[in-house]
Every structure is written in C-alpha cells, then in structure tokens.
C-alpha cells in the first residue's frame, strides 16, 4: 500500500520537476546549431550579462526593502485591531485578482493623462511621465508583493505572547527597546520568510517589466523569456535559468528559518 501511494507522487515529481530541470541543465551546454559548447557560460560572464544580473539583483533588493518597510508596520497595525481575521481577509482579497489586471491598472494610473498627473496638477506639481520608468516598476512590484510579505510577518507578530511585552514594559523597557529587543528578534523568521517570497520572484518578473517599463528594466526573468520565446536560443535561456536556480537555492539557504510560513494561510 505504501508503495502504491508513492507511485503517483514520485512519478509526477520525477517527470515534471526533476527531469525538466535536468533537461534545462543539459540545454545550457548546447548552442543554437545544436553543438555541445561552453559558450553560453562564457557569454553569461561577459560584461553585458554581469551588468544585467547585477541590476536585476539591485531592483529585487529595492523591491524587497520597500515591501518590508511598508508591510512591517502594516502587520503591526493589523495585529492591533480587534477583528484581525476580517482585516486580514480584506488585505489578502486583492491577491485573488489576477496580477495581470492589477498591473494593467497602473498603465492607466501612471500614463501621461493618468489620474496621478491630474492629482499633481491640483497641487501645481509638474506633470511627470512615470509610466516606462524604473520607479514605476518598483512601485507596481511593491504593490503586487505586499500581501505575500504581509502574511508571514503577520503570522510571526500575532504569535508573540502578550505577557512578554507586558513584562518588558513592567520592567521599564521603553517602546523602542520593546520593539528592538523583543518584537524584532521574535519575528526574524517571519521577516526571512517574507524576504524569500518577495526577493526570488522579483528576480524573475518579466510581465511587469514589459508592460510597465517598456523593456527599460531587464531582469533575469525577462532575459530568460526573451531567449526562449523571442530569440529561440534555448541554450542561452537555459544557462540564465540555471543561474537563476542557483541564486534561488542560495537565497533559500540564507533565509531558511525554523518555521514554515511560506504557504499562504487562510
């Protein structure tokens, strides 16, 4: 019986997870005409690709940082409300709207005649073209990832025993001390889980870069999509993919915590 249970799951994981990744690794050694080569790796270490990788990391870093800066206080505020579940549900609800639709909304908001410039006009601020800029890319990404960062943070914060906070206050700790000595260390795992669910997808975004920045920002994901679907250079695409997987594993190791908050909890 045990064996019988194993078969569907193991077969599935082998055929659709392990095997495709191995194929991708194999393809990274094949050039456009089908010969075995190391050239893809050589071009990945050329200045163009190194620059692209660094800028992709820089954007992912900024997106993760800003998402954390917004979600942490939000998680604290959420935890202080009386009806936590309802408020949490309200914040999570937009994640059920396909992210394509939400990204599309920003084309209208950030456009030259969009509502943002209308608001600016009221305050006599000069019209700006936010669409097709990297600032717009960061804002939209933060907007998309916010709920995913919020969930592990909220889980960590709501798990803190209130007696600990009261004890600290009784013993004369200031607000800042309570935060830095108790709340922050106790939510470290939540922060790590949050960073993980935002940083890795940020490296691989390609849809937002295309729609919002008009190809100005190129992430690792954009490059892979371009090599696979536009240039039809699967070898180079696979090479970038292999590096993306390596980066992902490194980030997972760095941010691995004890608790597992990675999957959304309803």
């Amino acid at each position: 019986m045990k064996k019988l249970l194993l078969i569907p799951y193991a077969l599935w994981m082998l055929i659709f997870v392990v095997f495709p990744l191995l194929l991708m690794a194999a393809y990274s050694f094949i050039d456009l005409s089908g010969n075995i080569t190391l050239n893809n790796y050589a071009s990945f270490f050329s200045s163009n690709y190194i620059q692209m990788t660094l800028s992709s990391f820089w954007y992912a870093f900024l997106i993760t940082l800003f998402t954390l800066i917004v979600s942490y206080p939000l998680a604290l505020a959420l935890n202080a409300t009386k009806r936590k579940t309802i408020w949490l549900l309200i914040i999570i609800l937009p994640t059920w709207i396909n992210l394509l639709l939400k990204t599309y909304a920003f084309i209208g908001i950030f456009g030259k005649n969009g509502i943002l410039n209308d608001i600016f006009a009221v305050f006599n601020i000069d019209e700006i073209q936010l669409l097709f800029s990297d600032t717009a890319f960061i804002i939209v990404s933060v907007y998309i990832f916010l709920p995913f960062m919020l969930l592990p943070l909220f889980n960590a914060i709501s798990g803190i025993d209130n007696n600990l906070l009261n004890a600290a206050k009784d013993l004369g700790a200031t607000r800042v001390q309570v935060f830095s000595k108790i709340i922050l260390p106790l939510t470290a795992d939540g922060i790590k889980a949050g960073i993980q669910v935002v940083f890795i997808p940020s490296l691989s975004l390609f849809m937002i870069t295309r729609l919002i920045t008009g190809n100005k920002v190129i992430t690792l994901g954009t490059a892979i999509e371009q090599q696979f679907l536009t240039n039809e250079n699967w070898g180079m695409g696979s090479t970038i993919g292999i590096f993306l997987v390596i980066f992902m594993l490194l980030i997972m190791v760095i941010t691995s915590g004890k608790s597992d908050n990675r999957v959304m909890k309803l």
């Binding site: 019986m1 045990k2 249970l5 194993l6 078969i7 569907p8 799951y9 193991a10 599935w12 994981m13 659709f16 997870v17 095997f19 990744l21 194929l23 393809y27 939000l74 604290l76 505020a77 959420l78 202080a80 409300t81 408020w87 309200i90 914040i91 609800l93 937009p94 059920w96 396909n98 992210l99 394509l100 639709l101 939400k102 990204t103 909304a105 209208g108 005649n113 969009g114 907007y143 916010l146 709920p147 993980q196 890795i200 691989s204 390609f206 849809m207 994901g221 892979i224 999509e225 696979f228 679907l229 696979s238 993919g241 993306l244 997987v245 992902m248 997972m252 990675r262 999957v263 309803l266």
Partner: protein, 260 residues
C-alpha cells in the same frame, strides 16, 4: 499611537484597492480611455459578453483551474500520505525537493516544461497547459495536507488496525475524513494558483489555446482597451462574492462548533 496605527491601516487598504476600483470605474466610460470620464456606457460589457472567443477563453480558464486542481489534490494526497509513513530522514529530503518547486520562479517552471513538452513531441495547447498547472499545484497541496496528518492522533490509526481494518479501509474511513479540511484547503489553494498564473501558461501554451491572463497580456501590450476593465470588474465581483460566501459559511461553522 493606536490612532496612527488605524489610520495607517485604512490608508494602506485604500491604496491597495485604488487600482482595482479605478479599473472598475473606467469600465463604464464611454470616452474609451482611462483618463477622462465622458458618460456612462455598458458597451464594453456587451462586447466582452458577446465575444464568443472571449467567452471560450473564460470557460477555458475555469475548466483548466478545476481539472488541474482536482488532479493535483489527488496526487498531493497520495504524496502526503506517503511522506507521513516514511522515515524522517528521507521525508526531509523529499520535502526539500517539494519546497524547491514551490519557491522556484514561474519562468523556470515554464521554460523547463516547454523543453520537456517539445522534446516529447507534444503539441502545445490545452493538454500541456493542464499538465503544467498540475505540476506547480501538486507541491502546494502536499504542503497543506501534511500538517493535518501530523495533527491527527496516531492511536486513531492503531485503533482502526486493531479492530481489523486493512490499510485501504483505514485510509478511506479514518484518515481521509480527519484530514478533509486540509484536502479542501489544498484544493482551493491550487485553484487560486491556477487562476492567478500567467508566466507558466505563457510558456507552454500554443497559438490555438489561451487563458484569460495570457489574453489580457496580449491585449494590454497593444495599449488600453476598456474591455479589460470590464473583465476586471466581472472578475472582482465574482471573487468578492465567493470570498463573502466562504466567510459566511466559516462564521456559521464556528458558531455551530461553539454551541457544541
């Protein structure tokens, strides 16, 4: 301090919903753009609902989500039961593989499956999309079912065996009823991932078969079309209604449980 926290919460929620309501508002704009509201019209809803191609795409999206999450939940259930029964060392290793799949970026899943399907000589279309959706849903269902198995008292299984039940009966009559909430949660999470997916589908779909997100992407690349706004409004209303019903049901169950 409490006041500031509440204001911050409210402002954040307003900002989170602003783009969605912005889309919904302009879906009624007769001027055909997202900047100046001219007059009220339902034309974009009419053109979405009478466009048979669009209706097929919407049905495809729902069908793919339902089929892939059902199959994924079945496979995930087998996987969770298997992982529950093996030694801790091998379980940890298999769970690590499982987690890699959950965290791995959409482009990697999409690109690697594109290679697989092409080498296998499969034509890209409905089958490849459903297989891909099952592929990224299985690990999620495993992760949601497994904790439920651990919260089960092992003596339940022992008791069933002592009373003469074979493994199959134990699983069907004892274990599955107990872990049902986990199975349902896994199914709905798979459904969510499937409905929300864009990147994986974008890689593995062919010219004849499209899902809503891929269709919206190609429409949005051509610029603003208020049909997308109308679709967003419909999607939002459906999602909101489902979540509201879910909330009411869970509230009622809580009350019932409270009484017992």
């Amino acid at each position: 301090m409490k006041k500031i926290a509440n204001i911050f919460l409210l402002v954040s929620i307003l900002l989170l919903y602003f783009p969605i309501f912005y889309l919904m508002f302009y879906s009624f704009n007769s001027a055909g753009n997202m900047s100046h509201f001219d007059g009220f019209t339902l034309n974009y809803y009419k053109s979405v609902l009478t466009d048979s191609r669009m209706l097929v795409i919407i049905l495809n999206t729902i069908a793919v989500a339902l089929i892939s999450s059902s199959i994924a939940t079945l496979i995930g259930l087998c996987g969770a039961l298997y992982l529950y029964n093996i030694k801790e060392k091998s379980r940890k290793m298999l769970l690590a593989v499982n987690n890699v799949m959950i965290v791995s970026p959409d482009v990697i899943i999409g690109a690697s499956l594109l290679i697989l399907f092409t080498l296998a000589g499969m034509s890209l279309g409905s089958v490849s999309v459903i297989l891909a959706h099952i592929a990224f849903s299985v690990p999620i269902t495993v992760i949601l079912i497994l904790p439920k198995l651990y919260s089960m008292n092992p003596s339940l299984v022992d008791a069933a065996k002592d009373l003469g039940a074979d493994t199959k009966t134990t699983i069907i009559k004892v274990i599955i009823p107990y872990i049902k909430p986990g199975i349902i949660a896994g199914f709905f999470m798979a459904l969510t991932y499937s409905l929300d997916d864009f990147a994986v589908t974008f890689f593995v779909t062919g010219s004849g078969f499209s899902l809503l997100s891929v269709e919206v992407y190609s429409m949005a690349r051509r610029g603003i079309t208020l049909e997308i706004n109308a679709i967003s409004t419909i999607v939002f209303v459906v999602v909101f209604t489902c979540v509201f019903i879910y909330y009411l049901i869970s509230k009622r169950q809580e009350k019932l449980r409270g009484r017992v």
